[in-house]
């Protein structure tokens, strides 16, 4: 039962890679946006907030389609990326990571923002009076104090990325070895009469993967907790 075949290993490896990249991509941007939403007041704030939530509100297929329109080889940004940097994201695992990170983005932002809102500004102030500039205070006070939210956001994003399907299959297609992550492989198996057996194995694989991440995050959180 536990010996994996090549197809499963391939999907697992890819899912892991995509999820890790997705988290790495959305974490800094998510933190930045969460910080802006938590601390800044500007006219278009509610707009930005809405934009962040878009991937939740719209069905994944629509997001996938939008990504295809924007980042596909013929897409506005995709074309530019290809012409200037010779990078192509569409139909590659990079695209899968992007779509996963886009889908996970609102979860990341919300979690981090919640933690940022809970930080007592007095502590940051004290950091300033001790001689650390805004950026250093950010690094040494704000960031560590927001750790629970960052961990929570990262684990949510990771789990969401492991499970991401709709946007991915729409944006980067279902290319074995390139974009066929666990959920997409699962989808394929479900299309085959009698594929349920194999599907179950993939479900268990997904769960093991996410559970490991959960345990890791719990341990990390416990270490960080005074």
């Amino acid at each position: 039962m536990l010996s994996l075949n090549g197809f499963e290993i391939e999907a697992l490896r890819l899912s892991l890679k995509v999820a890790l990249w997705s988290v790495s991509l959305s974490l800094p941007v998510g933190f930045g946006v969460a910080w802006i939403l938590a601390r800044k007041h500007f006219p278009g704030k509610i707009l930005l907030d809405g934009l962040v939530h878009l991937p939740l509100i719209l069905p994944p297929v629509v997001i996938g389609y939008l990504l295809l329109v924007l980042l596909g080889r013929q897409g506005i940004i995709g074309k530019w990326l290809f012409d200037v940097f010779n990078i192509s994201v569409a139909f590659t695992w990079r695209g899968a990571a992007i779509s996963a990170s886009v889908m996970a983005f609102p979860l990341m932002v919300r979690a981090i923002r919640l933690s940022l809102d809970a930080i007592d500004p007095k502590l940051e102030n004290i950091g300033r009076t001790l001689g650390a500039g805004p950026f250093l205070v950010f690094l040494t006070v704000t960031l560590p104090l927001a750790a629970p939210g960052i961990i929570s956001g990262a684990i949510l994003a990771f789990a969401r990325s492991i499970g991401e399907f709709g946007a991915t299959i729409t944006f980067v297609s279902n290319i074995p070895g390139a974009t066929q992550t666990l959920p997409l492989a699962l989808y394929n198996l479900l299309q085959i009469p009698g594929g349920e057996q194999g599907a179950l194995r993939l479900v268990i694989l997904s769960i093991i993967l996410a559970a490991s991440a959960l345990i890791a995050s719990e341990l990390l959180a416990r270490r960080l907790k005074k």
Binding site: D120, K122, L123, N125, I126, G127, R128, T129, L130, G131, A132, G133, P134, L136, V137, T140, V141, P144, L145, A147, L224, K226
Partner: protein, 378 residues
């Protein structure tokens, strides 16, 4: 000594207005080298003012200068951020970083503090504040006093050009207090570190402070030298009646190693006080509480009182209570608090010649103004 400090020697000049909610702060004062006490009852605006000085809040209008460096000037649109002000700050609540251990909290200050280069070795601070055995602990496991001691250590180690302390010793016990006070005095005297000090404890204020800013409902109802403020009868409601006292400028004139006594001379006489280890000739101020002064019509003999000084009653101030205050002239002015009954018994009136008796023990080290006796720097 001048009651209005000379302009050029001012370390700190503050002239600010700020409205928070329904509270209006409108304060203007100057502070010289040494310790400036902010004194006022709860809600009078002390913390609000401190926040303006440290740069944690922005005045609606005004100007703050330290060492002729403008920290803030609303007219010129200058506003230095807190980290550029080199102010070591101990807040009223301590506010330790919960994600760092005691050691981490202290090291934070060492790492980022970039003041004038004023430097106290970290070891010395840890020892003084008795933090050695706490270094590995997290703030949420500390007792109230331990938290505050850590906060003080942190501020001291941030290499500040000026120290601002908001009721730093309120949660400390007498024993820790008396351990830390001399150190603050040392900062003031040896390191010449100017200090802004918020406190409710008049003993502390008199011991540490040169200048006192009296805050009342957001206004500074008086600013001046501590001795001056303390002896102003009109400020009693704010400074506290039971603390009536006089401050006299003295010079150390003799040391008695055997009986462990120090003699202070002033214009009008000599006084013995418990031994203080300073060179002869040191100038300082001495605070004598009115209730520690006794009177006698004849020179008392065979008493335990070492200090007996001839004086003339200059003025008698009577209030509602059983006590009256007498202003005595013995070269310097000395305030004595006696019962009205004694005044009646002794038939005291302005012009009466009396002997003022002051117990040596009454002038403890703690009650000495300007702290551990130092040479005045002006």
């Amino acid at each position: 000594m001048n009651s209005t400090p000379a302009f050029d020697s001012n370390i700190l000049r503050v002239k600010v207005k700020k409205r928070i909610g329904e509270f209006d702060l409108d304060v203007s004062f100057m502070a010289r080298q040494g310790v400036t006490a902010l004194f006022g009852r709860s809600g009078s605006g002390k913390t609000t003012l401190i926040n303006l000085i440290t740069g944690l809040s922005v005045p609606d209008w005004g100007r703050i200068e330290i060492d002729n460096r403008i920290l803030c000037d609303t007219d010129k649109h200058i506003f230095l951020t807190p980290e550029k002000r080199s102010i070591g700050f101990v807040s009223q609540e301590g506010d330790l970083f919960p994600h760092l251990t005691v050691k981490g909290n202290i090291e934070f200050a060492c790492r980022f503090g970039k003041g004038t280069g004023f430097h106290i070795p970290i070891k010395e601070v840890i020892e003084l504040l008795d933090l050695g055995f706490l270094l590995g602990r997290w703030p949420n496991t500390l007792s109230g006093g331990e938290k505050q001691r850590t906060a003080i250590a942190r501020a001291l180690l941030s290499h500040p050009r000026i120290l601002v302390m908001d009721e730093p010793l309120a949660s400390l016990d007498a024993s820790h207090k008396s351990q830390i006070l001399p150190y603050i005095e040392r900062l003031r005297d040896e390191f010449m570190l100017p200090i802004i000090y918020v406190s409710h404890d008049m003993e502390e204020v008199v011991r540490l402070a040169d200048t006192m800013v009296l805050l009342d409902q957001g206004k500074n109802s008086a600013t001046g030298l501590v001795e001056e403020i303390m002896s102003r009868a009109d400020l009693r409601p704010l400074t506290g009646r039971h603390e009536a006292s006089s401050v006299i400028n003295v010079i150390v004139s003799q040391q008695d190693e055997f009986f462990k006594l120090t003699q202070l001379s002033f214009f009008g006489g000599k006084l013995w006080i418990p031994f203080v280890d300073v060179p002869l000739g040191t100038e300082t101020r001495m605070r004598v509480r009115a209730r520690d002064v006794l009177l006698s019509l004849t020179r008392p003999k065979g008493t335990s009182i070492l200090n007996i000084l001839p004086a003339t009653v200059k003025e008698i101030i009577t209030g509602n209570g059983p006590q009256a205050e007498l202003v005595l002239d013995l070269g310097a002015l000395l305030i004595a608090s006696v019962t009205k009954k004694s005044i009646s018994n002794m038939k005291l009136e302005p012009g009466t010649k009396v002997y003022a008796m002051i117990k040596a023990a009454a002038i403890t080290h703690r009650a000495l103004g300007l702290g551990g006796l130092r040479s005045r720097r002006n």
